[in-house]
Amino acid sequence: MPLNQDVLWYKDAIIYQVHVRTFYDSNGDGIGDFQGLEQKLGYLQELGINAIWLMPFFPSPLRDDGYDIADYNTVHSSYGTLEDFHKLLDSAHSRGIRVIIEMVLNHTSDQHPWFQESRSSQENPRRDWYVWSDTDNRYTGTRIIFLDTEKSNWAWDPISKSYYWHRFFSHQPDLNYDNPAVREQMWNVMKFWLEMGVDAFRLDAVPYLVEREGTNCENLPETHAILKDFRRRLDEQFPGRMLLAEANQWPADLRPYFGDGDEFHMAFHFPLMPRMFMGLKLEDRKPITEILQQTPEIPSSCQWSLFLRNHDELTLEMVTDIERDYMYDSYAENKTMRLNLGIRRRLAPLLDNDRRRIELMNGMLMSLPGTPIIYYGDEIGMGDNINLGDRNGVRTPMQWSGGWNGGFSTAEPDRLYAPLIQNPVYGYPAVNVVSQLGSGHSLLHWMQSIIAVRRSTAVFGRGSIEFLHPANHRILAYVRRLGNESVLVVNNLSGAAQAVELDLRRYKGNIPIEMFGKNIFPRVGEVPYLLTLGPYQFFWFRLRRI
């Protein structure tokens, strides 16, 4: 299956986020690897996704699960070789699956040779590759991101006898982007992977590239200028590739990352995600519609990226204090589940393993404007282990079968990079791919079908959105439009059956055709269109005029 050559391919993408280490171990050492992932590409193709986002696979001391990079130009030996990666790339492309890889621009591991050189002396040529200071009181007022572990954004280096700046863990010193050599080197890194055939980068932690006194050191104009330069070079030398921004910011602050279509192609819509969970718990669409109404228009070539969960905690940075308290009380009563300003749980446990709510949330993910990302394992409803520390509880081995090591590895269980989920509800004997493939009504089959319906039309990925505001606040309803095609989406956020009257006069004369069963519903007329929905039920209607 050849790759779609449309330069806007990312608008039609269904992205699957996966860590090589977690997916499949091909050589029995207890750690997932490139060859293992390659072997499972058929599964992903059957699922219906057409892009994979690989979490960092670079050499690293793994003190931040690979986001602390010690070498940008090769792969971690635990996952295989560069050749293995190249083969994975080719194999994915042959199945019509694009490959997005991480690129951590903001910082390196303190084990990276660049930092080792930089710290060695003030005269070292790489001294200025990082942000050094004789005192720790520069850039005061800059928020600390990893609140649970870090007390300052400065760390004292005993070798260099000075402080270095780090927005994340103290073992992740920030690169100095005021240094042209740094910028040039990072472009060369990106170029290395682009020449290999990688389709896109998820650029990690982009708001923090540049620091300036008297600011909050986030989203600065200088940062945008650097990113725009990367984009310009990308378009010139590698047209059709994509940049995805990881910028956990309010919508208004996210907008600049798209520029005039000359910066990022995509950005994660961080503020929407917690509000989907909030709307579900409140049984009220208000949090969802409000954040989307506050979301600014973006250039036509750009796209939001939507997600329910990922490898990090469910972030509650971009919500108000009242909302955060509500989310904690609703979803993380057990304080062990809370990390930094978030909740470190997977999708299914967050939703009490309620199949209806899981379907509803995925329904919204697939129908709201943006490109959806599925976190590995959520398609089968995997659980988590909050006792594993940091965010490792949501990064456990993929559960392929009910057999040895959940089908993940042939190694001895105590050699696995992380223990499998074993409790009776979410453990691998109960939740695994083989079992769900064998059951026609499994969550996995349902995910396959909703992805197929999503991909059957371009309207979800490329269309506009018009919210309806029925008086019943438990109903989230909107119309997606692209050209002559219109799709009406109606979601019941409540656990009780609901009746709703929709004002569809604009669509008078259209016949709603339910998109899963393809049954026709009564024609839209002048009077309010009455629908009744079961608990957490949703409808997708194609509106046809015949």
Partner: protein, 422 residues
Amino acid sequence: MAEDTFLTDDFLRQLINVGEVDILVGLPTHNNAKTVGSIVKTIQSGILRWFPRERAVIINADGGSRDGTPEIVTSISIDDVRRGPNPYALRTLHSISTKYATTPAAPAAFRTILAAADLLQAKACVVMSPESCSVEDEWISKLLRPILNDGFDLVTPTYRRHKFEGVLITNLLYPMTRALYGLRLREPYAQEFGFSGRLGGEFLPQNVWDDGGAGSGIELRFILSAITAQHRICQCFLGQKDHVERRGSDLVPALRQTVGPLFSALEPDFPFWSAVTGSQPLLTIGPHQEVLLDLVRVNRKRLREMFTAGVAELATVFQSILSPDTLAELQRVALLGENDFDYPAELWVKTVYEFAASYHKSVISRDHIIQALAPLFRGRALAFLTEQRNGSAEDVENCTESLCLEFERLKPYLLQMWKSRE
């Protein structure tokens, strides 16, 4: 579920859109545009501040306003279109209105509110007066928390009032209700009170809505019903009660709304109150009441004239209602000079009890009985105002307590009158 056919289709549709709620605030209105705006904003503020996570609704039962009252009430809804003053409100807040009639009728308004509470499965409800300009957002919390958190079914208010405010309550309604129903409930005729959905659901199907006699003062009937059903009741200090300028001509309507329903209730409640002796204190959150002592002008001369004239002009009416001894005593009091005027507690209690008994027997038209009480109440009010002219807060409280004990002491007298009239 109540079988309500008086709810309009439009209102039902609105209720469907609201769905199940935790809290319902009922607001009966009729041409209250001047005051209702600030009140609904305070209600909204109270809900957002004290109950930000609860599902809440404001139900306006309107009696045919022509001044835009309903529109003012519904304008404070908060949803994803109208965000209100608080941009961080977690939830939608519906504020909906229905016209229950083209002319105001308190029972119909209250019934509408109860029906909505029943249909929406409200856990806790509060009724607010559309005229209370001194309302604070904390009142919402005070009236609802005992229900939501502590399992009470009824929360009645106590207030900070001027010592000469609420004389009808302190000299008749409170002491009589206390003596007969055995509960020291300071405001038996409350305009702001909280109740559980459970209590509302029990009261809704009762046959009280078409009874012309009990039609007005339905709130009093509701509270008495809670007492006789032995629901958990407490009272809560709210704060300042608005001073309402009353004209002399307002007294008869006030008596109709309060004393009439009280007298009417004595019949069906006879098995209950006849068995009660003494009275029990009520859990009170905050002070029982607070008394303001600033100087106010009282037209005592006018009160005395109206009392004296009433005693004379209604002599034949009083002969039907009162015992000869009581009537004779009243006529003696009517002849007292201005400086000697007194309407002793015992005489007043006997007066009230004989009126109640006569009302029970309908010796004459019941409405005439109520009207005839007016001049006598003025006499009692005069005595109270004179006695407490320089009285302290403690003096006022002692006077009220003393009167209550007199009502309790003479309860057997009422029973005797009651039975003798049968």
